[in-house]
């Protein structure tokens, strides 16, 4: 799989470098840092903090899957990578998250104001790259990107609002509402990446929709796995403290499922989670055990498997070029290839 990711990255890289190079130099510097290309002094980053480039690979494979030339997908691949970078940049500000890929987040390294501006620049540049693409399908592609941007923002809004809502009672967040938030926040851009490749490759609407659906399922599966790791993940592997999501009292799928089930464990959970005191090691351990006892962990595993299946099925049900479809299948599995 690493070879496929590398091939897609190599194909996209010149256009991505070019897009970043056309930004204001200071913004370009922050962007290179955010993309993991450079450290905060502008020197090449030896730490290899670059992302895997899953989104650009989805765009490239999306084009190949509909029988088009990989090169057709490049403006889409660049656009989704830029949108992804912009959204991480702004999300870290909103979540007051000081670390990103084991380095200081952009707002920590450069300040909040500059990080807001760099995100705005990447957002605008993503649309620009697509709007200026030398393709007959530019208009449709820009509209797809717009839908994803709107979904991304709505998902993030839901996520922020969840924090204000109670753990139980009429205003509580249901697992279905969580899924819809995650589809916006995580699924929409993965779906868009695949869809853009297909749109720029000239695929019919039906195929584009199927690939979009595959990407959305992948995003939901990914989010479910992330939620499992946020509670039960090994800190050595995740790079985050143990029980990280519980200590931050994040309303994630496993907890919401456990609470929605009612019963003894749910009752105890509400008491622990509603307490204004920070969760110490023992309480976090207890919350994790109660969530598991109430079936939250198993349900989230099912959720991940169901959506991974959904992603594979969406590919299978659509006539696609054989090699690219196989590589997409492998990529889906690879994206979820963590211990959960």
């Amino acid at each position: 799989m690493a070879r496929v990711l590398e091939r897609c990255r190599d194909l996209t890289r010149p256009a991505l470098v070019d897009a970043v190079g056309r930004l204001h130099p200071w913004i370009g510097e922050m962007s290179a840092y955010a993309l993991g290309w450079a450290d905060p002094t502008g020197r090449p980053d030896p730490g290899g903090s670059e992302g895997k480039g899953v989104r650009q690979a989805l765009a490239v494979l999306g084009a190949e899957a509909v029988g088009a030339d990989a090169a057709d997908a490049v403006p889409g691949a660049v656009a989704v990578e830029l949108v992804h970078t912009f959204s991480l940049l702004h999300d870290d500000i909103m979540d007051a998250d000081g670390l990103r890929r084991q380095r200081p987040a952009v707002w920590k390294a450069y300040g909040t104001g500059p990080a807001v501006l760099a995100g705005d620049a990447l957002h605008a540049q993503a649309v620009t790259v697509l709007a200026e693409a030398p393709s007959r399908h530019t208009g449709a592609a820009v509209r797809r990107l717009c839908w994803a941007l709107n979904a991304l923002v709505s998902g993030q809004a839901e996520d922020l609002r969840f924090e204000e809502r109670p753990w139980y009672g009429p205003g509580a967040v249901g697992p279905g509402q969580y899924r819809s938030m995650a589809e916006g926040k995580t699924g929409a851009l993965l779906g868009c990446a695949l869809a853009l490749g297909a749109v720029l490759g000239g695929a019919p609407e039906r195929t584009v929709t199927a690939l979009d659906r595959a990407g959305r399922h992948l995003g939901l599966a990914f989010q479910a796995v992330d939620d499992i790791l946020g509670i039960w993940g090994d800190p050595v592997v995740t790079g985050k403290p143990v029980h990280a999501d519980l200590r931050r009292r994040k309303k994630t799928y496993p907890v919401l499922v456990a609470l929605a089930g009612g019963g003894e464990a749910a009752h105890e959970l509400v008491t622990l989670l509603s307490s204004p005191r920070p969760l110490d090691d023992a309480s976090a351990e207890l919350v994790a055990a109660l969530v598991e006892e109430a079936g939250g962990r198993a349900a989230t595993r099912d959720e991940a498997r169901r959506h991974l299946d959904g992603a594979h099925r969406a590919l299978r049900d659509t006539p696609l070029a054989h090699t690219a479809a196989r590589e997409l299948d492998a990529l889906f599995t690879h994206v979820l290839d963590r211990t959960w």
Copy 2:
């Protein structure tokens, strides 16, 4: 002039309300506040804190000026108003400016994270409205908006970087660099508003370029007047403290011209401005007097007049529909109709 602004506002309003209504409800609430339609509790704002709507009027008159139907311009008018609102929202965060139109800025009223998100939503929605416009000219219009967004961000980046630069010596900000920053930060969107009206109205490239130029000149004239008022404006009229820009040690055109001239006054200015102490009333008064003595105020007046002339000339040199051209001329004058 108020009648023309009102007509353009009435024409644009339903589509603008619709665009805001399609946002996530929480984002819609923040947007309604930012647009001056509602107070922070969501109730209609009796304070009338709504902007004049100059940008939407420029778009509408731009279409009429090229002989098109005003309705053609509406998606462009909505887009520029949304971009303007987004940029104010984010600029206030970057500049740590807690007041906007005599009310708390969005980040003060709702928090920094939500304000970042609301800005992102308005940014995305602006592009969406244009990308989905039922027009043959959608592609060209989206590209124009993208250019303006990029220029806006670059201008804001320059402005933020100016703060770090010295008052004199090789790294000092020259008046020409200031002008180029202001053209991006203020001129680009005004030019874009006019250009979008013309593009959506089906005008030839030459006419679009001329209207864009007119809007840029208007922006530069507006910025020059703003800089004069930031130093010598009457607090009762401006709603800002006297000498506001000097106290914040903003590198504005009058000061930069005064410094660039060298001589006795410039020398004294550098000493006062470079001091780490806050400027008290007497020092601010002295700085204002020195800037005036060194010719900074007169030069900025000239700058404003020159660009207002440039804006009118750009209209005159282009074949335009008579009534709309006359209304544009009047609007240009109206925009600068403050005591300077």
